[in-house]
């Protein structure tokens, strides 16, 4: 039933065109308890989930937008937003109707034609093809007992798992955006890897298209049971146009004893135009709990999109000997602003964390790394190493580093290194003199700089991510 509604909502516009009467699926703008109830009802949710949403909503009304980040956020009127995935208006009917600049970028990234259509919002058979790919894929996973489905499906078919873990890593009270997401989340993904199972494929490589239409309040829950392994990919390198300005997602990960989760993101939401008009505000709460002993969690992110990014994928190292990694490349160009980093909370004994952050700023953009390393009093022998590098293209952009350390145990070793460098005209000319264009030279230098992070990505994704970095910085030097 939930599936039907989801399908109806996402496909309605394509099926009937924009003259269709779809009033039943439009919730008026604004947010109140009735809207929360309506969202829950439309998704046919159980009472406990509605209650949870309402609790989050009530808490949210007592909260304020965080203001500590190095970001200039224009005032957001939360009563002026529609909180239910409204069908896309004026969806293009074929590629001729799609912004040529967008297609140009698709081509540079080497994205197959059918995916281009899907990404542009064209409803075609190509999408159906991918659905059939998905089905065979799902069978393989099912054989191993792996659950991989939309969040709504999980609520319907695996309510106990959802109920047990949802909010256990990011409680609804965590922060303003987390409370908002919990109240109104649209959909997202759910993953469960059973004990002792090694997921045989990168989850979501086949699912690039799946990420579309999950809406602006996405919610992901990943549970890796004991001795299991999974590598999960979110997002896609293709530019994602979205009419929704505000995105507030939650990702929760639970890693049990001896289990390992790798979570990779490529975020390329619409960054706004060169003058800084438009663009997505991306306010995300991502957190993983290394719950069991010897558990391992690794975040890798390539952030190139969005007008404003507020995002700190974090790890709570609860289990003894647990370890965590955070690899990040964040690129800002033109008027983009990013305040991103991580939190490593060491609770168990012999835990270790590694942070590698590479910021790249161009144009008049602002790029900040903000990271917290906290070692609790009982966390014997905690170990952290952080490396935060900034690369500047031009002299009108800004790079900032805010490392916070709270070390409450003398046995801890916490190290932090930071560098700032600049691509200079001499380097560009040197490349030019060897026949390499300025654009390619910037690509070479930037990819060299970001290599250690890019190398963490699955192969095919890495190649696209490399091209993406270059495209994002086009025209930023010379």
């Amino acid at each position: 039933m939930a599936e039907d509604i989801l399908h109806e909502v996402t496909q309605a516009d394509y099926k009937y065109g924009f003259t269709t009467d779809i009033e039943t699926d439009i919730i008026p703008i604004g947010l109140n308890e009735d809207v929360v109830r309506l969202i829950s009802a439309k998704k046919n949710e159980p009472d406990w989930l509605l209650e949870y949403r309402l609790k989050a909503y009530r808490h949210w009304t007592t909260m304020k937008m965080p203001e500590w980040a190095q970001l200039k956020i224009p005032e957001i009127n939360y009563q002026n937003i529609s909180y239910y995935a409204a069908p896309r208006k004026n969806a293009p009917k074929n590629l001729d109707e799609v912004d040529p600049e967008l297609l140009n970028t698709f081509n540079k990234l080497g994205i197959p034609l059918e995916e281009q259509m899907a990404l542009s919002g064209i409803a075609v058979d190509a999408v159906m093809d991918s659905v059939s790919v998905k089905t065979t894929f799902k069978e393989t996973l099912a054989e191993k007992g792996i659950i991989f489905c939309s969040f709504s499906e999980a609520v319907e078919h695996h309510p106990d798992l959802v109920r047990k873990y949802m909010g256990s890593v990011v409680p609804h009270t965590d922060n303003f955006y987390a409370a908002l997401n919990t109240a109104v989340f649209s959909d997202g993904s759910f993953v469960y890897i059973p004990k002792g199972v090694r997921c045989p494929m990168e989850l979501s490589t086949y699912f690039r298209i799946n990420a579309i239409n999950t809406g602006q309040f996405e919610r992901t829950l990943i549970i890796a049971d004991e001795d299991s392994y999974v590598s999960y990919l979110e997002g896609c390198t293709a530019p994602m146009r979205d009419e929704n300005q505000l995105h507030a997602a939650i990702v929760e990960i639970v890693v049990q004893k001896n289990a390992e989760v790798k979570y990779s993101t490529v975020q390329n939401w619409y960054p706004g135009d060169k003058e800084g008009k438009g663009g997505v505000y991306n306010f995300v709460t991502k957190r993983g709990l290394c719950k069991g002993d010897n558990s391992k969690l690794s975040w890798t992110q390539v952030e190139t999109g969005s007008a404003i990014t507020w995002k700190y994928p974090s790890c709570i190292l609860q289990g003894d000997n647990s370890s965590a990694e955070f690899y990040s490349v964040a690129v800002t160009n033109h008027h983009q602003q990013a305040d991103t980093g991580t939190k490593m909370i060491h609770l168990g004994k012999n835990t270790s964390s590694h942070i590698l952050s590479k910021g790249i700023s161009a144009g008049v953009s602002n790029n900040s790394y903000r990271g917290l390393v906290r070692v609790a009093a009982n966390a014997e022998n905690a170990r952290n190493f952080s490396q935060c590098d900034s690369l500047l293209l031009g002299d009108k952009c800004g790079a900032h580093t805010f490392p916070y350390m709270e070390v409450n145990n003398d046995s801890a070793i916490v190290e932090h290194e930071a560098t700032t460098s600049k691509i200079n005209e001499d380097q560009i000319f040197y490349c030019n003199q060897r026949g390499i264009s300025t654009e390619d030279a910037v690509g070479l230098i930037v990819n060299g700089y970001a290599k250690e992070v890019i190398n963490q990505l699955p192969m095919e994704f890495a190649v696209e991510a490399q091209k993406l970095l270059q495209i994002t910085l086009e025209g930023s030097v010379g």
Binding site: S421, Q433, R434, G448, Y449
Partner: protein, 275 residues
């Protein structure tokens, strides 16, 4: 002998210069500024296929500026004159087009590019050149073979080739790396800007041998140097003195000996006298 070289066609008509090859590079009355200051003040030079031209001259005379202008460094502004390369208007072309047309500069101060491996850098450069010339990308095997061959030519350490471009290279290693790149890209006009400075005696011989081995009847070199010593290894067809933004004297390699012995004062004097 007319030494001031105000006559634009002097270089071609000088009795010294019994030339046969096709003109590769023709510079006429070239004026160029940097930061609003005129550095090149009416420079003439013609380089034909098969020739090696040495350019000498006191510090600050404009030798590196000439190299920068020929290769299209955007910091330099051409205010007057013309440069043709194979009959094409060189000044119309972007730096990378000039490179892909076959002009190579061995920099006086090679630049470090952290994070970019020599292998990746060279492969990109070679493929850009091939693309410009309408050729397919080089295969991995061909590329590796080429790398090996050229490394041997300049006796370059394998370790250097595996590092980032010039990063942490010693002064001499950087110079050797320039000649390695030159060998890889096989230019028709190479400009060596003080490639000899910073090289030890063995390295000087190796680098010079490399240059000589790359010499062909259809290419040419401009060798900028302060020392006659290099010209023992790389025998120039012509030696020019660049002073105050102009070529004020041209001769054979004997001129280099004379300069080594007498310095530049007598040339400066000659120039002053004819003013």
């Amino acid at each position: 002998m007319n030494t001031t070289n105000n006559n634009q066609s002097q270089a071609q008509t000088s009795p010294l210069l019994g030339r046969t090859g096709e003109p590769l590079l023709t510079i006429k009355n070239l004026h160029a500024n940097v930061n609003g200051k005129e550095i090149l003040k009416g420079l003439d030079l013609t380089v034909r296929q098969g020739e090696i031209h040495a350019i000498m001259g006191p510090n600050g005379a404009g030798k590196s500026t000439l190299a920068s202008v020929l290769t299209g460094n955007p910091a330099f502004e051409v205010t007057h004159g013309s440069v043709t390369f194979y009959g094409k208007d060189l000044l119309e072309l972007s730096p990378e087009q000039r490179a892909n047309e076959g002009i190579f500069l061995s920099f006086q101060y090679p630049v470090e590019i952290p994070g970019v491996s020599m292998v990746n850098f060279m492969r990109t450069a070679i493929n850009e050149q091939r693309k410009y010339r309408g050729l397919d990308q080089i295969s991995a095997t061909d590329f590796l073979r080429l790398m090996r061959e050229k490394k041997e030519l300049v006796e370059m350490d394998n370790k250097l080739a595996n590092r980032s471009v010039n990063e942490g290279f010693s002064g001499g290693e950087k110079k050797r790396n320039e000649i390695f790149q030159m060998a890889m890209l096989d230019p028709s006009l190479s400009i060596l800007d003080e490639t000899d400075s910073g090289l030890d005696i063995d390295a000087l011989r190796i680098v010079a041998n490399g240059v000589n081995k790359l010499k062909r009847p259809d290419n040419a070199s401009i060798v900028i140097t302060h020392y006659q010593r290099l010209l023992d290894y790389i025998i120039p067809d012509f030696v020019h003195v660049l002073y105050d933004g102009k070529i004020v004297k041209s001769g054979t390699k004997d001129l280099a000996f004379e300069l080594e012995e007498r310095g530049y004062d007598w040339i400066k004097q000659e120039v002053e006298e004819t003013r």
